[in-house]
């Protein structure tokens, strides 16, 4: 369980000026990097992979992260040669790409109950940003440019707050009511003509459906604000309720969370944004639409266009295309039946697992996730302890509304048997002694990591490490 850094295996200094086709003053002097052969690299990365827990390793019940199994075939379609086109190709020569994008826009619109969709945002947070920028542009277009607040529930994802701030808004934090849902009185108090938007996820991060959603929508709309849907928890509602029908004006889709594209250890993702008709003219450019007339073989033709009042680009090109191909393939595989079954089993699994564990689980009834409380134990310790039982732990210490939160979302891909295994790991952790908790994990590639040391003395590159080491040597 140890693999040297590439640079520790080899570091070769190569001078640039030999045979340089450029004048010396336009080039660097040298480059010093590892020079290794394919067999050495294959082993290096194989060994590194062996020190990673992936979705094929076992259950991965990260609340609000929705770690679903990633169907293998979606990789194959994204790897097709015909998928490998340059973004500056003429529209006429990439009708296939445009058709796929158009069909995906359509699929997503139907699933979300939205009127128009952009596929450009390269991640969920980028989708949020598009939503907020669209809201800004809309208000501005209406001459409504005094709105400088965005309201965000206290239990919301950190990105909601950060996105609103990036969009130039003051963030108004909304407390929860006793049941863990939006406090309507607090909302009433927070809303004003300064309100640009309310950002909401539903079910919320406690797994609870915002039962008053219709009322909330009315309240926000009454003050001229827009209602934003954070798609993080859409997997819980597939085929059973749609943000558009609940009164949301704009939403993003997390294709990783809802449509099983691989998380890749932190991306690439995609965060398509859907809006109601009224907001469609503000979406990023370019989007795809059908072109009047038909192609040579009677096929519909597609073209790119800029919406009338487009906010412009939020990505240099068209976003994370390869991720979108996988999204499309997944939806085309599941169809109505599969999507409906996904939310059914996701919710069943969460409820079943919540029932099987000893930790207290406040609030309810749950949809796709629940937040247990580790009580007297430190939730992060519990998580590390669970690693030793061969499973991945839940998300911890958030939302803060539940003390020592263990935010758990099994998703639909886990079998009853796996959930039982997971419940067993929860039980073992809950029965662990302080000592066991504080020393965990012990069966992992490395033991518990000192976070303070990492932050206090940042060593962020091999070069920095070298400097540190030589510093120590000379000391």
């Amino acid at each position: 369980h140890y693999e040297p850094l590439l640079s520790e295996k080899d570091s070769t200094h190569v001078d640039v000026d030999d045979d340089s086709p450029l004048p010396d003053d336009l080039t660097r002097d040298s480059l010093e990097l590892p020079e290794l052969s394919e067999p050495e690299l294959a082993r290096h990365y194989t060994r590194l992979s062996q020190m990673i827990y992936g979705i094929d390793s076992g259950p991965y019940p990260l609340g609000s992260c929705t770690m679903k199994y990633n169907p293998k075939f979606t990789e194959d379609v994204a790897a097709l040669d015909v998928a490998a086109v340059h973004p500056d190709r003429s529209s006429g020569s990439i009708q296939g790409t445009l058709e796929l994008l158009h069909r995906l826009q359509d699929y997503l619109a139907r699933i979300g109950g939205m009127d128009a969709v952009t596929l450009q945002p390269p991640a969920g947070a980028a989708g949020e940003f598009v939503g907020i920028r669209v809201a800004s542009a809309y208000h501005e277009h209406n001459g409504d440019d005094e709105r400088d607040e965005v309201i965000v529930p206290e239990s919301a994802h950190g990105t909601n707050f950060a996105t609103a701030a990036l969009g130039g808004y003051d963030v108004v934090t909304l407390p929860s009511d006793d049941g863990g849902r939006v406090d309507l009185e607090a909302l009433e108090a927070a809303l004003s003509e300064r309100t640009a938007a309310l950002m909401l996820t539903n079910p919320n991060t406690l797994g609870l459906f915002e039962r008053n959603i219709t009322e909330i929508a009315e309240m926000v709309h009454d003050v001229g604000g827009l209602l934003y849907y954070d798609g993080a928890n859409l997997n819980a509602l597939l085929g059973r309720a749609r943000p558009g029908d609940m009164g949301f004006d704009v939403m993003h889709y997390n294709v990783h969370k809802t449509f099983a594209t691989p998380h890749g250890g932190g991306g690439p993702g995609a965060g398509p944004v859907g809006v109601v008709d009224e907001l469609a003219p503000f979406l990023p450019e370019p989007r795809v639409r059908e072109r009047g007339g038909e192609g040579g073989e009677g096929e519909t033709e597609y073209e790119l266009f800029a919406p009338e009042h487009s906010i412009g680009h939020v990505h240099g090109f068209q976003g994370n295309w390869l991720v979108l191909v996988k999204t499309f393939a997944y939806i085309a595989r599941l169809g109505d039946d599969g999507l409906l079954d996904a939310s059914a089993k996701a919710v069943l699994n969460a409820n079943y697992l919540a029932d099987q564990i000893d930790y207290e689980v406040p609030y309810g009834p749950f949809h796709h996730e629940f937040v247990a409380s580790a009580g007297d134990q430190d939730a992060a310790d519990v998580a590390r302890r669970m690693l030793d039982f061969g499973v991945h732990p839940p998300t911890t210490k958030w939302p803060e509304i539940v003390p020592q939160a263990l935010m758990t979302e099994p998703t639909e891909v886990e079998s009853k048997e796996t959930l039982d295994t997971l419940a067993e790991a929860f039980q073992q952790a809950s029965a662990s002694s302080d000592d066991e908790l504080e020393s965990a994990p012990n069966r992992t590639a490395v033991g518990r990591i000192d976070q303070t040391s990492a932050a206090r003395n940042p060593r962020l590159s091999w070069q920095a490490l070298q400097d540190t080491n030589s510093g120590e040597d000379s000391a």
Partner: protein, 445 residues
């Protein structure tokens, strides 16, 4: 069941018995009972999306994409189709890499953290700067983040962000969206022969400028010759000097640290990704002094309980999940897996291979320019500068007509002016370039 089953989710493993037992455990009659959705918003309709077998779904995607014409792409302008060694696909596709989550549990993520640390180290060597994060979305968003960084770190009340007039629309527009929530305003400065017009820049720059952005190479493939001078100019006015580049160019061209760059942005996926309709990997490196203001994820070294070296995400207090509205960025999921691929590709090339690749980008562009320049009614390169990878070609005929004709011959090039095309050699084989010259000769005849 897989491959044939089309009812229900093929990825939900429940047997009917399981479902029944679980419902009983949670005391529910049916799964529908578990949904706490008011009747008013219950969705009673269907999406109208057919379920398909795996084979049918594959076939649908393939048949749809086969509508794309099979063209040899001599395209660049920010997105390149270098050959990616097979090693990259095979190793990056290992499910431990592909399907894992962000490394919040570092003890079971050491392999990915180490790979990202190696990626950061690669960029530190390439840029000469001390800190590189482990990715932004792409070059455009990285530039946007550089601007918000400038907004945070500059004390001045300035609001001007200077970018070249040649800047790609997608980048400029993205930048404008990123600064829309600030007081910053994006302005352009002129170029001369497709490189910075330093005199004009000198005229326009003042203390109101917080960021001066230069790309090397430029979008037209030209190589900047006065980078250090521009850096001095920026610093004299207390502006952040931001350079745009990429790992291949950086392997050969002047090292950003040597010309005074404060931040380097760009698209690192020139290595590691095949042509992918513009999908990218935002490179972001900067000076150590701005460390606490860096957007995105950083992997650092620490120690475990037995004092062994261990890797972890660090300085997370900059990030949205901790700092919320005071975070350095709203970025969460980034392009980690692409960064892995880029690191793999770079490692596969090694320093010799990287330098060779960049040198060949210079000589092959030069050679192709000379070959088309020989044709009557064609001038190449248009810009009197050194080039890497791509260059602009002037044609007597309308450029769009020439490009359309070339497409008929199976080649895609950029149209960048009424009589200007742009051609890129990066991803093309020698045979393809020969065939292109033949087709081009015929088209402009």
């Amino acid at each position: 069941m897989n491959g044939t089953r089309t009812t229900g989710s093929p990825y939900a493993p429940h047997t009917d018995d399981d479902t029944a037992a679980m419902l009983e455990a949670v005391d529910a009659d049916s799964v529908d009972d578990l949904f706490d959705i008011p009747p008013a918003v219950w969705f009673d309709d269907e999406f109208g999306i057919d379920a398909r077998t795996e084979r049918e779904a594959r076939q649908l995607v393939r048949q749809t994409l086969e509508r794309n014409d099979d063209l040899v792409e001599l395209l660049g302008r920010g997105h390149y189709g270098y050959y990616v060694p097979s090693l990259v696909d095979h190793l990056a596709d290992r499910s431990e890499f592909l399907t894992s989550y962000t490394q919040y549990q570092p003890e079971v993520s050491q392999g990915f953290l180490q790979a990202l640390f190696e990626y950061q180290s690669l960029l530190v060597e390439l840029t000469g700067l001390e800190v590189a994060n482990c990715s932004m979305y792409d070059a455009a968003t990285a530039l946007g983040e550089a601007a918000t960084l400038a907004d945070r770190v500059r004390d001045t009340s300035g609001h001007r962000v200077l970018v070249p007039d040649l800047l790609l629309e997608g980048r400029r527009s993205t930048l404008e969206n990123y600064v829309a929530g600030t007081d910053l305003e994006v302005e352009t400065y002129p170029t001369d022969d497709s490189t910075v017009d330093v005199e004009a820049l000198t005229d326009t720059i003042d203390e109101e400028v917080v960021l001066c952005y230069v790309e090397n190479p430029t979008v037209r493939g030209t190589i900047e010759e006065r980078l250090a001078e521009i850096g001095d100019l920026a610093h004299e006015h207390d502006a952040l000097y931001v350079l745009g580049s990429d790992p291949v160019a950086l392997s050969l061209l002047q090292r950003p640290a040597d010309v005074g760059a404060d931040v380097v942005v760009g698209d690192a996926s020139v290595l590691g990704l095949p042509t992918s309709y513009g999908m990218g990997l935002g490179l972001f490196a900067t000076r150590e002094s701005y460390l606490r203001q860096v957007p995105g994820r950083l992997v650092g070294v620490s120690e475990d309980a037995t004092d062994r070296r261990a890797f972890t995400l660090t300085l997370q207090t900059r990030e949205q999940h901790i700092r919320r509205e005071r975070a350095t960025s709203n970025i969460c999921t980034n392009q980690a897996w692409v960064a892995l691929r880029t690191a793999m590709h770079a490692a596969s090339l090694g320093p010799s291979g990287l330098i060779d690749l960049a040198k060949r980008d210079v000589t092959r562009a030069q050679d192709l320019a000379a070959r088309v320049d020989d044709l009557v009614g064609v001038t190449a390169p248009v810009d009197d500068r050194h080039h890497i990878r791509e260059f602009v070609v002037q044609v007597d005929q309308p450029a769009q007509a020439v490009a359309d004709d070339l497409e008929e011959h199976g080649f895609a090039v950029h149209v960048v002016g009424e009589h200007e095309l742009q051609v890129c050699v990066a991803g093309a084989s020698d045979e393809q370039i020969d065939a292109f010259v033949e087709a081009f000769t015929e088209v402009v005849r």
